[in-house]
Structures are given as C-alpha cells and as structure tokens.
Symmetry: C2
C-alpha cells in the first residue's frame, strides 16, 4: 500500500466522520470502552488512556485497556481476551489504533490480522503527524470504520496527552485552597489546615493522576512540602481502585495483592521552580531535612538561565542534567522580569513527556500562570471559613483598573468534598 | 375555663408532642399547608407565614394562607373556603392557632366554633408567653390535637419571626458578592459588575422577602445604593409569583391585575447606619441626589448616641423620631470603639417589628456583625473571576494568629445562579 499523504489522510478522516452514524448499542459499547480506559488513569502516562471492547452478534467477546507504557495497548488486551472469535466482530476503541512500531507492534495491523469486520473509533489520534494513519491501514484492509462516537468523553480521558501532541505543552491544572473570602493563610503564615481531610484526600487523587506536580522552592522550603502521593491518604474509593481491575479484566490478576498495588502507585515527577538555585544546598546534602528529597520519586529542579538563549530555550532544557539518581535539572531562560519564562518551561516539560501538570504553589506562581494564559483548569477548594482582610490572598495579579480586564472563568463542576467545596472552572481566555 | 399556668401549658404541649403520630396522608396535607404559607413570604411581615388545609374524608375541603397583617389568618381563609362542611373535619396548620383577640378574633375559637374534629399543628407558637394557649383552647373544647408534623419545614417558614419572639432580635442574612478570590472591588473601588444579572435578580428576591435591609451611610453615599425592591429586576418566576395566588386560592382574585400586584410589592424598611449623621444634609434637602431618599419606602436612620445610656438603649431607640413622612431616626449607644453597638441595634430593630434583616454593606460592617455573632446566615455570590491580591476584601476581621480562631460555617445550599455561584452557609458559633 502506498503511504497516503497528509491531505489524503485528512480527507479520508473527514469523509468517514461525515458518513458515520451510531445507534444506542454502539453508545453502550463505547461507554464501556471509556470506563475501561479510565482504569489506566494513574498509570498510563506518558501514554494516553485507551479502552477497547470487541463485540460479536451483540455480545462482548473481549475487552481491555492500556495500563502502562511498554505494556500491550487496549486493543491487544481485548483481542487476546476474545481469542479465536474475532473474525467478523466489531471493535470499539476510544482512540484511533496506532499505526507505528513502537515498543509494541501497531494495533491497526493486529486488528487487520484478527479479521474484524468493523472498527468504531471515538476520536482520531491527536498527533497531527499521525492522525489518520491507523485508520488508513484499516480501510486499506477492507475493514469498515466509523469515527466520532462519544468524542467529547474520549477527549476528556486525555486532556494532557492531546494538548502535548497538538500544542507541545502539558494540560495545566492549578490547585488552590482558600477560605470563602479567598485567603490561603493568616497574616503570620499559619495555614494548617484551611481545608478538611476529605479535601486533602481529594488532592491526593489529582496528584496521583498527574504526570508531574509543579511547585516552587519557596513553597518547598516554607511548607516543607513533599508533593508526593500518599497511598494512605487517597480516599478509600481510590485506594480500592486498582483492586477493581480483577473484577472486570483478567489482565491484572497479578496485581491482586494490595501491597503490590500500593507500591505501584506512580509517584508523579516533582517539578520545582528554583530560579536562584536555593535548593542546591539541599540536593547536595545527604542529610537534607526537606521531605522533598527524602521521599522516593523523580525530581526536576528548574533553574533560571541568566543569559537569554534566543529560541534555544527548549533545546537546552531538554538536555536535563542529572544530579543524582532521582534529581535532574533543567535551565530555562528568564523573562524580562527575571522570573523563569513560563512558556519556555511548558515546552520543556512537554519534551519531558509530561501530559498533565498539577500546580500546587503560592499566590505568585498562580498569578503568573494565569497572566500567561497557561492555566487550562482551576480547582479551588473553598473551606466554609472567613479569615478576614489581613490574611493572605489567592493570586497575585497586576493591578487592574476596570472590571472588564478581570480574568474570567466558567464553572464546570461544583462538588462538596467533606465540609469543603471543590470548584472546577475553565478560564475564558 | 380557668386560664392554665405556664407550667400547665408546657406540660400539655409536651404530652401531646410525645403522643403524636403521623401517616403519609398527614404529611401530604401538611406539605400543602407549608406550600400555601410560602405564598405570603413577600407580604406577611411582621406577622408569620402560615398555611392551613382542612380535610374531610380524605378530601381537601378548604385551604388558605395569611397574606398580610390585619387581614384574616390562614385558618379563617380555610374555614371560609370549606363553608358548612367543617363539622368533623381535620385541620392542618403550620403554626399553632392564635388564642388572642388582636386585629382579628382568635383562630382557636373559630376552629372550635366550626366543630372540627382534629387539629394537626406543625409547630407551637414561638412566643414563650403565648405558646400552648391556642392548643389549650382546642383541647378544652374536646378537639383532638397532634403537634410536630414537618416542624423543621414549618420553622424554616419564619426564621425571623421565631427569633424575634424568642430572642428579641431579627434573623440576620448577610449578603456578600465577590470574585473567586474573595474580592469585592478593584483597588480603585471599581465593582460594577462583579456578579451577573441573574445574581442581581436573585438579590432582589431576598430583598423582597426581608422586613428590612441594613446598610451604611458609606455604602449609600459611595454606591448611591437605592436598597429598594425593583419589580422589573425580580426574576421572571418571582414576578409571576403573586399571580399564582389566583390559581390556587380564591381569596386573591382581587389581585389578578399585574399592575396592582406590582404596586403591592412591599418595600422593605431601609435601615442605614449613620453613626456620625453624614446623611442629615440629604434628609433635609428636598433635592437630595441620593436615590435612597428619592425612592418610595420607609427609611430608618441609625445615629450613634454619644452618651452611653446604660440599659436604656433599647427603650430610647424605640422612641423613633420621625423626620418626615418616610424617614425616621433612632439613636443607639456606641460601643467602646465608638461604633454603633450592634447588639443594641438588633434589639431596637426587633422592637420595630423587623423579622428578617437583609444586610448589604461593606467589609467593615460584615466583619463587625460576624465578630458580634449576629449573623444567622451568609449568602455569598461568587463570580467566576479572579481579581487579584490588590483588590478589596470581603470582611474586615481582627487579625488572627491561629487557624482555630477563624470563624467557621457549614454550607446549607450551593446553587448556580446564571454564571455565578450562590453559597448559603450557617455560622458555627
């Protein structure tokens, strides 16, 4: 088969989307595939979450999901589960099957080999260099293809992966916690605890889902922030989450042991902005008192590069300098205010394969990310308290003189978490 | 019948409550009575909202609610609607029938005269001097009485009336509007508009329900606040509210004309704290530019009494000085910080028959009310915006040094209103 051009691929995909129709049974199967994909949310990064369901004569004959990079993709698990019955079956998959030989053979080829009759795809591969190639392989083999079923839900499985593929930056979730009057600490710095234990457990779930956690040397030094995922503090439903694997899918029987599961909790990379190398003394000291360095997990220290390296910031930053087994270092050029250039930082983190970035820092970084329009979602935990005007604020922003200049958001979710409120909102840039 | 003593009445009521049992049909009838009572919420003050349903052989034969002081009570409307069929009926009423000759004859006597078989009462009269007297009249006449059905809902109909009867102060709702980071205005004072039009309409409903609106001379002068109820800004569902009367109850046919309804919107008394008589010039000037004085409705100016009048604050304040047709004046002693003593103020407002007080003011009065534990409910409209640390805060509180000292609340309702969020919370004093 000749390799189709980008424009041929785009035309092929557009034609299929326009012609695709779906019924209620299709939706149910794709919902099942999406639910399966979600099971990988603590482990798949930097790969996307993908789920797959294979149906024959209205009956599910195999399903699966992607668990971890280097391990089989969702389609392969599902095909293996279906065994010899795949001839003439319909495959529902939340993301376009891959077309390339990576650590695993291409799924599109496996589906062709399995002789399935049809493949229903929720969304096309977000990588503009790849999109459509897996579909072309299927079509060339005479397999029917439909595209676009539950596309929005499929998109929501992988906001970070998609943004990294399309815009070379991670999906940034800014976490804030404050009283009802937007205060994060008393005037003297006291802030333990504004929110309750349920909200703090909830934060652990977001941390566990993230590829990386971003904070600053100030926060690390002032709060002795560990920024890690504490299995014991994950809410009960989340702690049991991996155990659900066994009920729904045989691929994970080997993970049935709780202690094994606990060890498998991925520690997100901890990225700490340290413009002025304030943490260096702690890195070098084997007896650092900071929790950050005493707990297992990868750490990236981001130092400011004094000299502006026009256009080279990204390249330079990709050459991470490794201080020791767990601590590496990148240099990012400073902006005109002599702060770390946040746009350059995001490019560098995308190059480090970081899909979803969870930000826990102070009012200064929060404000700077917002002013650089680098926040994709804010998560604010509001405690039912009032701390008063003398207490510390949530976000340092340039002084505004007109209401029209104020950063605006739209609420996407409001949930009570214990005694507190979790507000999720998207910026309207 | 000999007049029972207080202790005899308390014993009678306690015995009846202990013996009362209710079935599903009872609940349905009482729910109907409560829904009827709510129809009076814009008009009954200083009287309570009361609804009544009369049932015979499982069928509703009459119902009614109290609309306005001086007009018939709920029971009388229901008895009139039932006509000659009341013999042997069961009467459901949200509040103990009255026992005294006021502007209308006692409802307890009317129920006796109507020969009803049984009276089911949601809650006892909250006035400790009256509680049980109506019940005693019914019991003495041989009418069966049950008490306590949906008592919490019945209580929620009249938080202000109940508090005024029991603690001689109004129920205080503190309204605040802020960005997600708790800011009420930009540094330069600009604040129009933080919240959207739906939230502002919602505020109109709360104003319309209140007996009085409390604000300060600062707010009136700075914002030219009118503090009145604008019929045109009431949400559509609320504007239509009075029209519903006709569908459910014949007592209000005379109110069918919308223009009449509009005129009947009660303007709450506007109470303005003016410690240093800054508004005097405006009161005396017939050409005041302030909206407050140019719009119809009663105004009470609260001036600080320089001399502390030990224990006489309440009495003095009851002697309202009337400047002109719509403006009266009370003097309240100052506290040790030379501010108006807010506890004395609340006593004085209760003496003016104010049940529910809606507070719209700045961060200073908000903080002072909170620190005096005089807030019964806070309503915060949060706009999906961030205004930054240089913007103005929500509440001026004394500087705190420990999180344990921070005023705490519990959320009772979270509702999205247009683009904004309305948070209702109760203080945990």
């Amino acid at each position: 088969m000749p390799i189709p051009s980008r424009s041929e691929l785009d035309l092929l995909v557009a034609d299929i989307i326009a012609a695709s129709q779906f019924n209620a049974a299709d939706s149910l199967h794709m919902q099942r595939a999406i639910a399966l994909a979600e099971k990988g949310r603590f482990t798949t990064a930097p790969n996307p979450n993908v789920g797959c369901v294979i149906v024959k004569a209205g009956k599910v004959i195999g399903d699966g999901f992607h668990l971890r990079a280097g391990e089989p993709h969702a389609e392969i698990h599902a095909l293996n589960a279906a065994g010899a019955q795949t001839h003439g079956a319909t495959c529902y998959v939340t993301l376009e099957p891959c077309s390339h030989y990576g650590r695993t053979p291409p799924c599109a080829a496996a589906l062709v080999k399995a002789n399935v009759n049809e493949v229903v795809i929720a969304m096309v591969d977000p990588n503009p260099k790849v999109a459509g190639k897996g579909i072309a392989i299927l079509v060339a083999a005479g397999i029917k293809v439909r595209i676009g079923l539950l596309a929005a839900q499929a998109h929501a499985l992988n906001p970070g992966f998609i943004l990294r593929m399309q815009k070379q930056r991670p999906f940034v979730r800014l976490k804030m916690a404050a009283s009802l009057d937007g205060r994060t600490a008393l005037k003297n710095g006291e802030s333990k605890w504004i929110t309750g234990s349920a909200a703090r457990s909830d934060v652990q779930v977001y941390r566990a889902q993230a590829s990386a956690i971003l904070s600053t040397a100030s926060t690390v030094i002032m709060d002795d922030a560990s920024l890690n995922v504490r299995y014991s503090e994950l809410g009960a439903s989340q702690r049991d989450y991996p155990a659900l694997y066994n009920e729904s899918n045989s691929q994970l029987n080997s993970l049935s042991d709780r202690e094994t599961l606990q060890k498998q909790v991925r520690q997100p990379i901890r990225v700490v902005l340290d413009n002025h190398c304030r943490l260096d003394a702690h890195v070098e000291s084997s007896s650092s008192a900071l929790k950050l360095f005493s707990l297992p997990g990868e750490i990236i220290l981001v130092n400011g590069a004094k000299e502006s390296i026009d256009g080279k910031g990204e390249q330079r930053s990709a050459d991470a300098l490794r201080d020791n087994e767990s601590v590496s270092r990148i240099e990012i050029k400073q902006d005109r205010h002599h702060n770390i250039d946040l746009n350059q930082l995001m490019s560098a983190l995308a190059q480090q394969d970081i899909n979803e970035l969870w930000v826990e820092a102070g009012a200064t970084l929060a404000g700077a990310l917002l002013e650089n329009k680098l926040v994709d979602e804010i998560i604010i935990y509001l405690a039912p308290k009032l701390m008063g005007d003398s207490a510390r604020g949530l976000a340092v922003l340039s002084e505004l003189t007109e209401m029209a200049q104020v950063p605006k958001f739209s609420f996407t979710d409001i949930t009570q978490v214990g005694d507190d409120l979790r507000i999720t909102a998207k910026p309207e840039y």
